[in-house]
Assembly symmetry: C3
Homo-oligomer: 675 residues x 3
Amino acid sequence: MTSTPRWPDIDGIAYGGDYTPEQWSRETWREDVTLMREAGVNLVSIGIFAWALLETAEGEFDFTWMDEVVELLHENGIRVDMGTPTASPPAWFFAAHPDARVVTRDGVTLGFGARGMASHSAPAYREAAVRITTELAKRYGNHPAVVLWHVHNEYGVPVGEDYSPHAVREWRLWLQERYGSLDALNAAWGTAFWGQHYTAWEHVGAPAAAPSTVNPAQRLDYARFTDHQLRACFIAERDAIRAHSDRPITTNFMANQHNGCDLWAWAREVDIVSDDHYLWAADEEGEIGLAIAADLTRSVGGGKPWILMEHSTSAVNWQPRNVAKRPGEMARNSLAHLGRGADAILFFQWRASRSGAEKFHSAMLPHAGTESRVWREVVDLGAKLDRLEEVRGSRVHADVAILWDFESFWAQDLEWRPSEDVGHDERIRAYYEQLWRDGITVDFALPGQDLSGYKLVIAPAQYMLSLADADNLNRYVHDGGTLVVSFFSAVVDEHDAVHAGGFGTPLEPALGVRVEEHLPLREGTTGDISWNGQTLRADVWQEDLVLVGAEVRATYVDGPAAGEAAVTRNQHGAGAGWYVSTRPDAAGLAAIMTNIYADAGLAPAEAPAGVEIVRRRRDDDVEFVVAINHTTDAVTLSLEGHDLLTQTEVTGRLSLAGGDVAVIRSRRTAPQEQV
Amino acid sequence: MTSTPRWPDIDGIAYGGDYTPEQWSRETWREDVTLMREAGVNLVSIGIFAWALLETAEGEFDFTWMDEVVELLHENGIRVDMGTPTASPPAWFFAAHPDARVVTRDGVTLGFGARGMASHSAPAYREAAVRITTELAKRYGNHPAVVLWHVHNEYGVPVGEDYSPHAVREWRLWLQERYGSLDALNAAWGTAFWGQHYTAWEHVGAPAAAPSTVNPAQRLDYARFTDHQLRACFIAERDAIRAHSDRPITTNFMANQHNGCDLWAWAREVDIVSDDHYLWAADEEGEIGLAIAADLTRSVGGGKPWILMEHSTSAVNWQPRNVAKRPGEMARNSLAHLGRGADAILFFQWRASRSGAEKFHSAMLPHAGTESRVWREVVDLGAKLDRLEEVRGSRVHADVAILWDFESFWAQDLEWRPSEDVGHDERIRAYYEQLWRDGITVDFALPGQDLSGYKLVIAPAQYMLSLADADNLNRYVHDGGTLVVSFFSAVVDEHDAVHAGGFGTPLEPALGVRVEEHLPLREGTTGDISWNGQTLRADVWQEDLVLVGAEVRATYVDGPAAGEAAVTRNQHGAGAGWYVSTRPDAAGLAAIMTNIYADAGLAPAEAPAGVEIVRRRRDDDVEFVVAINHTTDAVTLSLEGHDLLTQTEVTGRLSLAGGDVAVIRSRRTAPQEQV
Amino acid sequence: MTSTPRWPDIDGIAYGGDYTPEQWSRETWREDVTLMREAGVNLVSIGIFAWALLETAEGEFDFTWMDEVVELLHENGIRVDMGTPTASPPAWFFAAHPDARVVTRDGVTLGFGARGMASHSAPAYREAAVRITTELAKRYGNHPAVVLWHVHNEYGVPVGEDYSPHAVREWRLWLQERYGSLDALNAAWGTAFWGQHYTAWEHVGAPAAAPSTVNPAQRLDYARFTDHQLRACFIAERDAIRAHSDRPITTNFMANQHNGCDLWAWAREVDIVSDDHYLWAADEEGEIGLAIAADLTRSVGGGKPWILMEHSTSAVNWQPRNVAKRPGEMARNSLAHLGRGADAILFFQWRASRSGAEKFHSAMLPHAGTESRVWREVVDLGAKLDRLEEVRGSRVHADVAILWDFESFWAQDLEWRPSEDVGHDERIRAYYEQLWRDGITVDFALPGQDLSGYKLVIAPAQYMLSLADADNLNRYVHDGGTLVVSFFSAVVDEHDAVHAGGFGTPLEPALGVRVEEHLPLREGTTGDISWNGQTLRADVWQEDLVLVGAEVRATYVDGPAAGEAAVTRNQHGAGAGWYVSTRPDAAGLAAIMTNIYADAGLAPAEAPAGVEIVRRRRDDDVEFVVAINHTTDAVTLSLEGHDLLTQTEVTGRLSLAGGDVAVIRSRRTAPQEQV
């Protein structure tokens, strides 16, 4: 795909959303394009759920209405992101191919009526998906309005795993390819435990409901297989498009919302990374979860600009309590994504649906119509983005990497771990949150990648770690890096087998400790630690550490490991390896991280609490500073440059109203001078 | 059914219960009738679960034991309510017709061994039900002891919905009749959303387990279909009886306990409305739930006297903690039902079962036998009812109606609504409870019925409202009525589609407001309101209201809508429309309702707290005042007339002991003079 | 089996654990035996999950590796407990016999991949189990190293109940044998309730998912049937072994952890009773649960020494939070089992598994290897046990029996009981715990057995009680015993039918009370009792008692039975029957039990709080006192004799360090002189 253009042909920041004209009359279509222009919309995604109306019976196509929609948009200068509708095959498809339905772990066959996702392994589905995609690519692949392809929708959601006979058949083939021999499979899965030795490939089943906990290596492989099959579906569609169109191709990820797809691998297959992001309403600081999602999206895409394919103007509809966004929040969210690398700000969806499962989901044009706060803010955001054209293409730089390894998460999420209070999402959020509050920008990274560009690497939840990846981390420290590892890391290898010699041994060079025994705490109990004369609150976990070179930086005050090492630091070559063997509370983690920053040569930003500052750089040393005031009070920031939104000059001090956002063009300065 | 007698041929208030002689020896039968006479029992329901003992193999009948029971009861002057045993087909039926079993949404086939309810759509079941019913009707339809027919038992409980192939087949026929064309169905269900367009009737399935949330309009229709199928089963049996018997026919409802049957529609099909009612033990004011059930039963029956077919003498057995009734509580419950229109007080069941799933359910004759508190109170209640014969046939009058719309509840209960903290039962209980405490009698009503007789109509939870029904409410207000509408009402039409123009627009004429956006609150948070200088506590919900004529009566003090309208009043024609956009706590609702009563020309009763007073009127202006003291202390009431239970005259002041009940015959007085 | 040796041919206390050489290399095997010798291991259990590696295809066997293992162990003087691997049939078995899989109540078929437990009723499974067992018995039945047979593993766990067609077929045969006629079955099950009368055996199904609560007598019988089928599997294997080997045969129970097997019946079938025990980590006094398990194991085995087949050196892996044992805790646990009758202390498992579902389960040789606390304590425990050889064969004596009746538990655990707050495990623990704190040793007993040797019998949860068993208890009291019965006892007969005349009537002679009505309390409420001038806190339950001879010892202060009898005592013949109709808290129960001890002629021990003292006696009046200090502080105990662990003499006072254990050989003294 060498000649593929890397960014859709749109002027400025892309702005718009999912558009479903099939739900509305032609009269409404005309109103839609008029209002899109009013709002500054320049890109809409169409066709995502339109299969049944495009292929009305197997092999019978009707594109007349779609032709009309594309022309209407084209006439009005609105670009098209053309969706392939394969996330929801038509009713006729399932009637003809009942064997293509997904089966759950418990054997329930999932029928039609919702999003009709089919089995990722059913030949009939693969064939039908390629057929409709090919027809779309032939018809619209070179249309001047079409600037981007949007394959499928949110792979892996609402269902990814499938236990149908088609899936089991493909699973065996995948295993044969992966392991080559049954001996290798038996060894990798440790089938000697509980008498699971296999003597024939056809005896190997999916890890469906069983009398007790199923072999964890088998389940881990099934997660890998599921990811592989979903990606194979994507690749089949992508290649079908590429045969007829040179426009860039994406599929919308769900970073930090759905962990079922290994986005590192997916990002290698798309032309442009795009992401859907929704705030978790129960989280009163949803902007932190948003930042994680945005940084992860950027990171899997190698730092290149990306597309925010979906977010919401206000409430969603599928959470227990769907809290509406408050005035200004949509703009803050949108510009936070932009600040973290997004060059396209799109929504689900343009116009609120009157019917169906998501009619209570907000939209750019809400049920209340144009006489509404949401519409006014949509128009205002369009105008803002219009002033940010020059930001496009600039990059975000980070000195810190947090490890994010989907395969490790899959392994850790299996049953029968030492304590159900230990979670990777929770640990990553805790460390990330501290860095967010300290104004330090973060990339996410894989443990096996080149980390030499980072001053600090944090592993909040690297339960699974191969020896090769451990070597990479040890080398990173030896060469001068600072590594922070949280408890319950480096426990197992890539087959979920405990490392020979005990927990954590692969990182012994870097950390100078071994973990003799895990000491999970009882529910609701704490085990404090003593740190530089302070007592820090901690809970969930302690460990019996064996020091093999590390120095003790904190000790347990109480709990099962009372008196023993809790936090250690190890000098290894030119770098340092820190180990945090418990879960400090937020204040405790803040105290610990302050020392670690110093160790790594990092300085927290000086911004007021609740003010988020992120930067994008251009090659020419121009820097765009996005400053977001999440508080309700005005704050004063030390900044210099040109305020792109207000079109005024900032000379040293910027007053930012409560809830407001500024984007300042400035010259890049040395880190120590930054706000 | 013009010539059908409307009330069973029994003297006085009917008293008795379910009777299962098949569980006991003939010797016990003779003891039973002796004790029934001692207790004043004049009506028992028999045969309800006796199918297996009446039709011992397909088409082979044995009525000899039943003949004997009926004769024994007849000889002793005890009337018979003859049950059809179709709620529990025999083991041989399911062995012969395994396809007649119910299938759950997840595909689990429900077998025999409990109550053996069959698929409402299985032809074999329909046929067998009509066969046994016909045989019973032929044999007992004109027996002098038999005065009433009791078809089936609690339709819809324990299972209503069925996803068996029989149900799916019938469902398609029902849809074809309802919609005529697939175009109409696609439009009504909004199948353009998520690509669910149908091109053939045979592609339409039941809304069973699917990968995500199933089309809500489809699920709403499935609830309608289920209700229709259950009612069709009833009608088939009713017509089979009518062919051979002129006795009145009923089936026992579960008002305010099971919402799966649209009792308004069911009430049109029965000769007499009857109801089962059980206290919810965890509710320390179960008498309020009882009052709702009784008022709803009376209301669906058009105000005519009704039968309390089942309640309990003490504890039930199927709740988490089955709290026993305390001394006097059974009589208070029974007379509360009578005060709200019941002319028959029956129990489940006469004699406690030694075996089976309900052996811990109380009975008129408990396991402890006649040397027991329960038995003594049963005998005492029989004597009391004997003195209330003249109450029979009198009617209850109400000035207030609360809307109760089963179809709206079905729609609201579907998935993916804005907040799971919003519930129709909870809102109805809150408003009803306030009226109960204020001594104001309530009818329940449909939004489309003639409401002109009511001074006040309350819509605590009218999520779904058709335009026609909205017109009816607007007209009611315009013509002088007072309407109170609670939040999350008039949101969708009869297909669960959001009303064009936004939430609440159909009631804009009456209410003078539109709802721009829903603002559900986070769990555990509150959003108070300012009302006449007071601050009232509220939670769960706020809204962005747009005033289109209404005046603001309360504003939000905090929360997302702080400073905006919370409660409004709109003058519309000769009437007023109130809108309450949040959930006030009980004290707050009391404050608001005080103003609304004044607006509607209503005055709360002056009775002491915890004293329930209800009235029944005779055409001749005689009024029966039922006064129930739910407290443990004696109270003094201003009443005049003849005390039917104590056979004494009351001259202005009645002293009512703690826990006691009085029934006073008096002349009807003008409302303002009432207690 | 008259000539079977009763204890395996091992010197001293057996010490070791499960050993799975199939998971390791031959090099590791040699390290294993070296380390076993270092730790004093003299017995290991092998082959438990090795079926797939022994029978590699149907009828094809490979014992070469097992031969090698047995020889290696033999050469090193380590005895073998030979397991039959039938808890986990191989993959090829399920591929060949898919009908032999277990089906759940909801119809889910449980596949391969965990422990592959098969249907207990599948002929193919029975046949295959006997085949592999026979081959093992032929090959190793007379090997000098093999001293014990370990059939299967933890019958009933992880699944016992099976609803497959094979199970249903066997169930009908079992019922035909149990009841002889359908009339008897209909009567026993009370099928007249809810119309469940059967007219053909083939209509009787398993009590699988149904529309409502399934007939409780049917479910109770299904529990009996399940237990019977599992036991039949055991018997088939046992007899296959016996044909070729004279070594003793056991299977490992799960006393006080899994109630699905009637251990009284199972103990009659094994040569030696053995048990697996794991602490419940959330219980901060897990040593009390351990003591219950140990006493129950000893009791079902008739008081004879038993084998602790599995416990853990530290944490397990299958609980929500798997708390590690603290230093010394493993030894305290092990010696507590020994003190309560165990002559073998074994662990799951020898070496921690690197792979599979239980890799986080602790082992004698942990992941951390020999440089670890656990290993050091394992070696130390081996040395300790070596000094306790003379304890072997001595017996525990108890003056108190607590009734433990699995069938009653199965009945009580069914649905629709008066209150879900009532539990048998909880009540047994409460009474047992009081006796544990008072230093009084307990046996468990069946209500129908000879109880004349006990001064006190307690029935904390005898919901089900046959008339014959009630007669036994009445006779026990009449002959001078003291009986304490807790509420909700003697409610139903062996068919779960309420006793004629009401709750509790069968024990009326002994207790002098009848229960007129159960009065469960609302959640979170209390109902205190007045006892000797004190007010004791109680909750969950009250009752309306009718006194028929008993005197009132405590009355209810509040709650529904306020003012009425709460605790009663009845003189019956030479003994006394106490009835406790509520749930006192721990302090309340302590107060009540103090009186009851006096009544029964029992005296609590005088040991300090947290110190557990148990005794084993030899026929020659030698007594071994095991004293366990569960506190962290040193205590002084009045003891005299020879300290077997320290090899010193104790002359009146023993100082026992915090966490330490002493085993003192002394002369047996009269009870009143005991510590």
